[in-house]
């Protein structure tokens, strides 16, 4: 069964991996000689800068909201997820607008009396900032899920031993949270590595812009796929190293009998205000400021851009995202379940293959999906079962492609929350004669429900923003908000793209708020 699921989710990855043996196109030596170093250097720097920023923002905010009581904590809890709903390339445009010609920043400087002061924002530092601020919620969500379920007894013990709250954070909690931090960070870095829109707009040549350049500019898709395959191997290697490094560590936490989740600490009032401010900063930078810029643009363009179709497009986007997020989470759950009970170590490691779809640009995944699905289609025609392509440009192919693409986003939070489950629980269930399946659903499923909800929110938002796969694989008469936004943005009509972008953000609000409530309720019940 694991084999079957693995096969389904890794066919596209394998299709791309196999292309490694076809070798690159004829311009390969040119690329190696002139540009590869630059690609590698910039990608490395980007990964480094982004890691630092997202860990700082993500872990700090997650820790504060789950451990302390302070003003506006409840609102900040879900507000902190929202930067994720702003597509990274739109965030890039928005910040370029803020710091650009007659932007909010220069107007602000004029007001305070400083003229002709320019901040050069469109460079690798600006890019790192833009990507980090829109992606740190991955780390925030997975860490918060972890902290909420964290048994307080460890902390109580540490406090009884006279260790301060902050010291125990660094000594105890941060190391314990490692799987959660890594789970979120892996997602952030995969997305940083596959970003094309923002990097090319800011003029930073990364590995992925290189993939696009060798395809679109040099006209060598084979070289592009070759580069992607290399990227896949690097990411896979890093994931395995991390897994191997923590293999001996056990992250299960003993549950205290009297867990009380309402026992948030109440620091003194000045600290409380500080905590509010700290949590507000990333919300402001990652959500409020770009939304203000978008609103300014919408004000200019609303009358021209708005039409009644946007209502149905919004509903369609919501429907597709909801459907696909459900399927993706289900597949991730099955993958996790069957990996857990599988005895073969090799298969266990290869379960990580399935999540690699997130590491390469969406368009490469599209090729990975198109090749086998068209192959199947053609085979059906050959056997006279069908007369034309039936999978091509249908919802089935699109949903399949999404699942491949976003499996990582669902799998990571699920895995990290299942790591904490005390194995003795399931073992006792099995000793009592219950099968794997029942044990999973009766014992483990309820325990990872919070992870499940986080996974769903993240995938939902991601699908809402998704672009390259949607463009090339969508059924003819289906439109999504992201497609609309892109149509304007690619025509350099960024201000017209603001309206569909805002609608994406609004649609993403629904699960972010609704599921967040469920998540909190679950956490306090379990």
């Amino acid at each position: 069964m694991l084999l079957l699921i693995l096969a389904i989710v890794s066919i596209p990855i394998f299709t791309i991996g196999l292309k490694l043996f076809d070798g690159p196109g004829e311009s390969w030596s040119h690329i190696v000689k002139y540009v590869l170093y630059d690609y590698l250097k910039n990608s490395f720097l980007l990964v480094l800068f982004c890691s630092i920023i997202v860990i700082t923002f993500g872990v700090a905010t997650a820790w504060l909201v789950s451990r302390f009581e302070f003003p506006f904590r409840k609102q900040l809890e879900w507000l902190l997820i929202l930067p994720l709903s702003v597509p990274a390339y739109i965030m890039a445009y928005a910040y370029a607008g803020v710091f650009g010609y007659s932007g909010v920043f220069s107007k602000f400087m004029e007001v305070i009396g400083i003229n002709d002061f320019r901040v050069e924002f469109m460079n690798i530092y600006g890019l790192s900032f833009v990507l980090s601020i829109s992606l740190f919620p991955y780390v925030y969500v997975s860490c918060r899920t972890f902290f909420l379920a964290q048994a307080t007894n460890l902390l109580e013990a540490s406090r009884m031993l006279g260790i301060s709250e902050f010291k125990s954070f660094f000594k105890l909690i941060f190391p314990l949270a490692r799987p959660a931090v890594i789970a979120g960070l892996v997602l952030v870095l995969m997305e940083v590595l596959n970003d094309y829109g923002a990097a090319s707009y800011y003029g930073v040549s990364t590995f992925t812009t290189g993939i696009f350049r060798s395809w679109f500019s040099l006209g060598e898709p084979e070289t592009a796929i070759y580069l992607s395959a290399i990227l896949l191997i690097i990411v896979f290697g890093l994931i395995l190293i991390e897994k191997w490094q923590r293999r001996k560590l056990n992250y299960t936490t003993p549950k205290s009998s009297k867990q009380n989740y309402n026992s948030r600490l109440k620091p003194k009032i000045s600290n409380q205000i500080w905590f509010s401010v700290i949590c507000f900063i990333p919300v402001f930078l990652g959500f409020i400021l770009p939304v203000i810029q978008l609103l300014i643009w919408v004000k200019h363009t609303f009358s021209k851009v708005w039409n009644i179709d946007f209502i149905s497009i919004t509903l369609e986007s919501f429907g597709i995202a909801f459907l696909t997020a459900s399927v993706t989470v289900l597949v991730a759950l099955l993958l996790l379940f069957f990996t857990k009970w599988n005895k073969i170590e090799l298969l266990k490691s290869s379960s990580k293959l399935g999540i690699l779809g997130y590491a390469v640009p969406g368009i490469i995944i599209a090729i990975g999906v198109l090749i086998p699905s068209l192959y199947l289609d053609k085979w059906l025609i050959e056997k006279n079962i069908t007369s034309k392509l039936i999978l091509n440009a249908t919802l089935i192919a699109l949903v399949y492609a999404y699942v491949i693409r976003f499996l990582a986003v669902a799998y990571q939070p699920l895995e990290s929350s299942s790591l904490k489950i005390d194995r003795s629980l399931s073992d006792s269930s099995k000793v009592l004669g219950k099968g794997n399946f029942r044990t999973f659903f009766k014992i483990e499923f309820p325990l990872i429900r919070t992870g499940l909800l986080s996974a769903f929110i993240l995938v939902f938002i991601d699908i809402l923003k998704e672009l390259p796969l949607t463009l090339i694989m969508k059924p003819y008469d289906v439109d999504t908000l992201a497609v609309k936004a892109f149509e304007y943005a690619s025509d350099e009509m960024v201000s017209s793209a603001a309206l569909p972008s805002l609608l994406i953000i609004l649609t993403a609000l629904i699960p972010a708020i609704f599921l967040n409530k469920l998540l909190l309720k679950n956490a306090s019940n379990s």
């Binding site: 800011y202 500019s217 200019h300 599209a366 034309k388 392509l389 463009l471 008469d477 350099e492």
Partner: protein, 342 residues
């Protein structure tokens, strides 16, 4: 849990309704297009109304569409491929994805240099790559040719977008075709040395940066200036007004132009309708829309360009066969990489 299942059912039914309303008997034409302008959507609607043929539009970048066509092979539903440059049509042709078609109407409208020599594709609209310069800081008599941009006097003054952009590649390809590879490399090197900043942003951003005093000259496509001047955003209009347009190479080969064009797919299931569609796009009604709302130069000489474009005056076009742009595209990219034009 129940609520989630309900929501799921609603979601499925929304999408289900949407994809259910196809009529089997309807005539269908499948359009793979890289153009995503509002003007096109308007045109597509009109064509559907006039011809009764339903258009299935797949919108993505030309290279992705070419890849898709080649993977689909003989079963490809694509009837026509529309790109925003001649080089991509050349690429599709050289991968054997297009077929020749003949139409007297098309022949009578489109001049020879805007067409494929084997009749596999034609240009729909033209865009010129020109120099935008600051009205305050640049004396237009100092400007003359593209080659002039590589001379020392423009040191630290030029702004241009990344060489990943096809319009820059086409420009360099035309220079390779006209003056040879060696000259082209020296030219690109010279421009890189004169750049006021690392290439970034899009064409509009170059003009805005010009208005923001980050440099004095920018290499841009004409229709972006038209769009800036017609923007709803006041600051964009201001930026557009702060610059003037110069058509280079008027004394020599003429200003570099490129086309947005269309070709008939090799395995088009509806070739006759595809030709009908192409004829529709070249006739006056459609050409007027291209010219009016998207500020492109029409290929149909009976149609006048928009007022803004007319205000810049007539200019001499480079009549280089557009096939050359595709032919030298790769060389151009390799030169860009060598000289460090990001």
């Amino acid at each position: 849990m129940k609520r989630i299942i309900y929501l799921l059912l609603i979601a499925i039914s929304i999408i289900g309704c949407k994809s259910d309303n196809k009529k089997e008997s309807e005539k269908i034409l499948t359009v793979y297009t890289h153009r995503h302008y509002e003007s096109d959507q308007e045109l597509f609607k009109r064509f559907e109304k006039e011809s009764g043929i339903k258009l299935n539009v797949v919108n993505a970048s030309a290279d992705e569409l070419i890849q898709k066509m080649s993977l689909e092979g003989e079963q490809s539903p694509a009837d026509v491929l529309i790109t925003v440059d001649a080089g991509r049509l050349y690429r599709a042709k050289s991968q054997d994805l297009l077929q020749s078609f003949s139409s007297k109407l098309v022949d009578s409208i489109v001049p020879k240099y805007l067409k494929d020599e084997d009749g596999q594709w034609v240009g729909l609209t033209k865009r010129a790559r020109v120099i935008a310069y600051s009205k305050d800081r640049v004396d237009s008599t100092q400007l003359s040719t593209y080659a002039n941009l590589a001379t020392e006097k423009w040191n630290n003054k030029i702004m241009v977008r990344s060489s990943s952009n096809i319009y820059n590649q086409s420009l360099l390809a035309s220079i390779i075709a006209n003056q040879g590879e060696e000259f082209a490399e020296e030219w690109a090197q010279g421009v890189v040395e004169n750049m006021a900043r690392v290439p970034k942003g899009n064409d509009r951003d170059q003009v805005k940066a010009l208005a923001n005093n980050e440099g004095d000259l920018a290499i841009v496509n004409t229709y972006y200036i038209g769009k800036l001047l017609n923007s709803e955003d006041k600051s964009e209009v201001e930026a557009g007004k702060s610059v003037s347009i110069f058509f280079p190479n008027q004394e020599t080969t003429g200003t570099h132009i490129n086309v947005s064009g269309i070709g008939v797919a090799k395995y088009s299931p509806n070739k006759d309708d595809a030709i009908k569609f192409i004829e529709f796009l070249l006739q006056e009604e459609a050409q007027n829309i291209f010219a009016g709302s998207n500020f492109e130069y029409p290929v149909n000489s009976n149609v006048e360009p928009s007022e803004i474009l007319k205000s810049w005056g007539d200019f001499k076009e480079d009549n280089l066969s557009l096939n050359k742009l595709g032919e030298y595209n790769k060389e151009a990219v390799i030169i860009f990489d060598k000289v460090g034009w990001k």
